[in-house]
Symmetry: C2
Subunit: 175 residues, 2 copies
Amino acid sequence: MDATVKRKARPPKGTRVQPPRLAEPAHESDGAHLELRIWLRLLSCATRIEKALNARLRKEFNTTLARFDLLAQLARRPAGATMSEVSELLMVSNGAITALVQKLEADGMIHREVDSEDRRTFRLRLSQEGAKEFGRMARRHEEWVIALIGELSPVAQSDLLQHLTLLKRRLDKHT
Amino acid sequence: MDATVKRKARPPKGTRVQPPRLAEPAHESDGAHLELRIWLRLLSCATRIEKALNARLRKEFNTTLARFDLLAQLARRPAGATMSEVSELLMVSNGAITALVQKLEADGMIHREVDSEDRRTFRLRLSQEGAKEFGRMARRHEEWVIALIGELSPVAQSDLLQHLTLLKRRLDKHT
DNA sequence: TATTGTTATACTCTATAACTATA
DNA sequence: TATAGTTATAGAGTATAACAATA
């Protein structure tokens, strides 16, 4: 879904004297504080990867990253999870979860059973085909991610992971 | 209803080999490839920061990150930019840009002038109040980002920036 | 014919608040 | 009263495709 924005063509005339610059969603990224530059680059990378993954999930599986993430949470919890738990895990409101779950249930990817002890709650679980389909998606997803990130050297990768982990810990405390 | 449904609850002790982990929106993140773990952490960090910034922009300035980013692009281009240029810079479709621009114009943040040489195109520029308001937003924005990221040591920050820059370059080539 | 930008349409994700049914 | 989840509503962002004006 990229590479087709036809803006390569540039008005041949004009008195524009700006230096050539790579597309950079930055606010004065050059003199700015380190923190700002990190954030802009982080956002840029995440957006790029997210768009790529979303487009491919749509194309190959007719689904989205949000749904994929919900399935992933259930996939690692054979005992299932409640709506509220999923809501917290995905950091998304209860109402939004209801919508996602309805869609996934309608597609036959998950089912919900009333909890035997508290009839207000459901346990969500992958259905059998849901588990299979998620397996297919997860494999492709991983291939895509490896293709996108795998060009970095192993050392760079492990450094990057380490620093992101550090950042995430700070955010966990700070948010 | 086993009361402590939270994932944090753990057997009091044990022979765990794995490091303690916080809630992690991951798909089997432990045995997974490095690339996958990087992506999940990257996404997690970006989402957290983005949500925080969006909420604050909404609260203090009644605006959004998408609009802020568009303004930021104009702020660094005194000569202005066309719709298509902005579309490319923000990696967003032309139709979506029209919507954003209409909103910002209605708010008096920007104006658009018909290009004297090509009457199909507009030049978008910050209005005077737009520039002032953007200045206020940018200052706050930077404070927030510094507060969120600034807990990392300077060394960690510069390493992180370096690795993200590397990643971004690969993505530029690869996407 | 090609390009710039608009419009119409639709879809996804999201939050909030009022609501229901349990507890 | 408090909690789990639903519904109704609203709004942002997005893409696509058909279209108009201009090149």
